[in-house]
Subunit: 433 residues, 2 copies
């Protein structure tokens, strides 16, 4: 048996507490069975007072991260503070000290992946981040190892549990966005400030990480199209349902001819009989289409204390067995520099659209709308007036055939000028997966 | 860059051809991107004449496996001949020669896992078998690495593509077993002799492998309850559908209190809204319930040339990078000897049942049947007479509450003696997943 590998944890929040539970309580017999000897010896957090409902041995807690970074015993640092700074600096300092690092920090990897992977290689240590995407779903390993004999053609993901919980509630119970969000916050499925979730930013960070691993693309996260769920209404979810679609916040990445890729995150109409429509509440799913394996789906809890902690601990076990064998993770150039893939501008992407107008109930309205579509080369698939309205306005839903986003944006600017159209025009993209 | 790792392939059938395609044609640029240097230098098969539709460099084919086993250049042997012998002897010989082995042979691992894992450890080489379960789905890695911080509570699997294809056809098109089987054979989804698939044996081998990895149980495959799909009728699939259930060949493993496990393979009624009911045609799915992650699902093509080849090549890549780093896979005692878990006899397992009787359309029939249920302590949940019959007999469907299999077997023996019951009584187990 090898010496035990010593671990230091930075960040004792929800996931950190889950990690401590796994390492101190639940996993001792399991790890013994598997002949894995890891030992959490220090925990750093600004708050070392609050009761996390878990018994911690004396002398383990500290408010000073240097107690971990400067401890020569510690071989693995778990970084669970999130955000860019001080997470980035602490990670780089850990690398310099020759310590392996495990993180759940998707924002950091999405933005600084290249720098951090390169620094990890140079330091000769392992840097793992399974928990950064899909919580407890082993999708990072799936792409890096299980599917490494495949050229990946596309990835579709429901990557954010908060928004999926909200959309599921709106769909199932017909309850409005604000009300479900408040409920999600009460139940701990949404943060007090839910911006990074509901804006799509969290899902965006995750798809950028998956794209780096699967396609070898070094993307600037700020250049990727991202739209949140804040403007979705129960009315649109109902209309979509009547048309055979379910609304999901979908992250999409596709490889195109000529070394180009398409990446985007937005509310999406998916066919109600598709497996993505089945993914409800806090669950996540990633569907990968590989050249040899075809379509594969990984499904599970994408967030939460224990699922995320499970991924963090699996990374620790992986690194520990590498340390015992005297080896480490090495990032290849494909994962650091990328393969020079070019991101296609959102305006140049073709897709189908759902539009809902609140239109005056008078002759000629459809004529005015359809003229704009025709002028912009957008072909209408169907027009449905769903239910009558009490007022002078009726909801008019139009589904288009494939159209260029650039054309659609021009059309939208025209629609907004129409006098017969009232209020906001709802536009939701459609993906026939 | 390290020296290239040389590979020898034994067995040039369907999957072997897929492996050759991946290694010789499709994957060259991919592997270069990933800085993996593996080289297939020999292929052994009894038939080296048939055209597999793929260009093979001269001098690679041989009918003599010794050309591979005795070649000191070769570091990895891929065994794709299937069955127990000569696969087992060849594998052990490869180990003795210090060669790592990759296999897709589920029968071999299920029956001789303990011996082979121990021999691999003793020889100090890596032995991988991702392709043996779930085709291209990386479920072996998922259990061994991704979920290794979890105590696994249960596994549900649709593990055989052939039977799932047949059941999907029967369900969707209302076509009888024999007819769908013939179609499946024509399309290559079923073998000329489909016994090992339709009898459940193939799924049984796979669940026994998963149970070894997940629970640490060294089971004798012959002691596990297994029932095939040969006796299922469209009538039962229809009845189940009307009751809100879909019929699947399900492999089930559950951990019980007191170091006991339940493992079984049989046609199963699963709720039609469950994700398992969604898994159609040649797709497979494995749902794992882990102590920390909760329910996770792995879904994809469970068989076929390229998905299975993808898994074989991913194992080769894994071993190659270990060889380059001077390390190897090591099986822990938990995976070799097991944890002393005891297999619960099928008679002692509790579950719900669907029964269909063809009963005389006369008073007192239900009385006779329900008396037997009562005598055996089996509680009836519902009785449905589905549709009228032209003859003197009507189909009578009974769903039970939880009952012991032993009690149900005794009841079945009584039912068979009833004069008012005609022909075969259909019994299908129910799992409310």
């Amino acid at each position: 048996m090898n010496d035990s590998i010593k671990i230091g944890l930075i960040g004792f929040g929800t996931v950190g507490t889950g990690v401590v539970k796994l390492l101190f309580e639940e996993n001792k017999p399991l790890l013994r069975d598997r002949e894995i000897d890891i030992d959490l010896i220090k925990i750093a957090d600004l708050d070392i007072i609050s009761d996390r409902g878990i018994k911690i041995p004396d002398g383990i807690l500290t408010t000073n991260v240097d107690d971990i970074l400067d401890d020569p015993q510690i071989g693995i640092v778990i970084e669970l503070i999130g955000g860019y700074e001080p997470a980035r600096s602490l990670t780089l300092r850990a690398f310099e000290k020759g310590k392996c690092v495990v993180t759940a920090n998707k924002a950091l990897i999405a933005k600084y992946g290249r720098e951090l992977f390169e620094a990890a290689n140079n330091a000769g240590i392992s840097y793992l981040f399974e928990a950064s995407v899909g919580g407890g779903i082993p999708i990072i390993r799936g792409l890096n190892n299980g599917l490494n004999a495949n050229t990946i053609k596309s990835i579709y993901g429901i990557l954010n549990g908060t928004t999926n919980y909200i959309l599921s509630g709106m769909t199932r119970d017909g309850v409005d966005y604000d009300e479900v969000l408040a409920m999600a916050q009460k139940l701990g499925y949404a943060e007090a400030d839910p911006t990074s979730d509901v804006s799509g930013q969290d899902a965006l960070n995750k798809i950028v990480i998956l794209v780096r691993l699967a396609f070898g693309a070094d993307l600037n996260v700020e250049t990727v199209f991202c739209e949140g769920i804040e403007n979705l209404t129960v009315q649109d979810i109902d209309c979509a349902g009547q048309l055979g679609y379910t609304v999901k916040l979908l992250a999409i990445a596709k490889r195109h001819e000529g070394n180009r890729i398409e990446v985007r995150v937005h509310p999406t109409l998916v066919p109600s009989e598709s497996i993505m429509a089945y993914v409800e509440d806090e669950f996540n799913a990633v569907e990968v289409d590989g050249s040899a394996v075809g379509r594969e789906l990984f499904y599970g809890k994408g967030a939460g204390m224990m699922p995320t902690a499970s991924a963090v601990v699996s990374d620790c076990i992986d690194i520990a067995s590498r340390l015992n064998a005297g080896t480490r993770v090495n990032f290849n150039r494909h994962m650091i520099e990328g393969n020079g893939l070019e991101l296609i501008a959102i305006e140049d992407i073709t897709m189908r659209y759902y539009l809902r107008f609140t239109a005056k109930d008078q002759p000629g309205v459809l004529f005015q709308i359809s003229k704009i579509f025709a002028d912009e080369n957008i072909s209408i698939e169907s027009v449905i007036q769903l239910g009558a309205s009490d007022s002078d306005y009726v909801p008019l839903v139009i589904m288009t055939h494939d159209a260029l986003e650039g054309d659609m944006r021009r059309a939208m600017r025209q629609f907004e000028k129409l006098e017969v159209v009232h209020g906001r025009i709802q536009l939701i993209r459609v993906e026939d997966i």
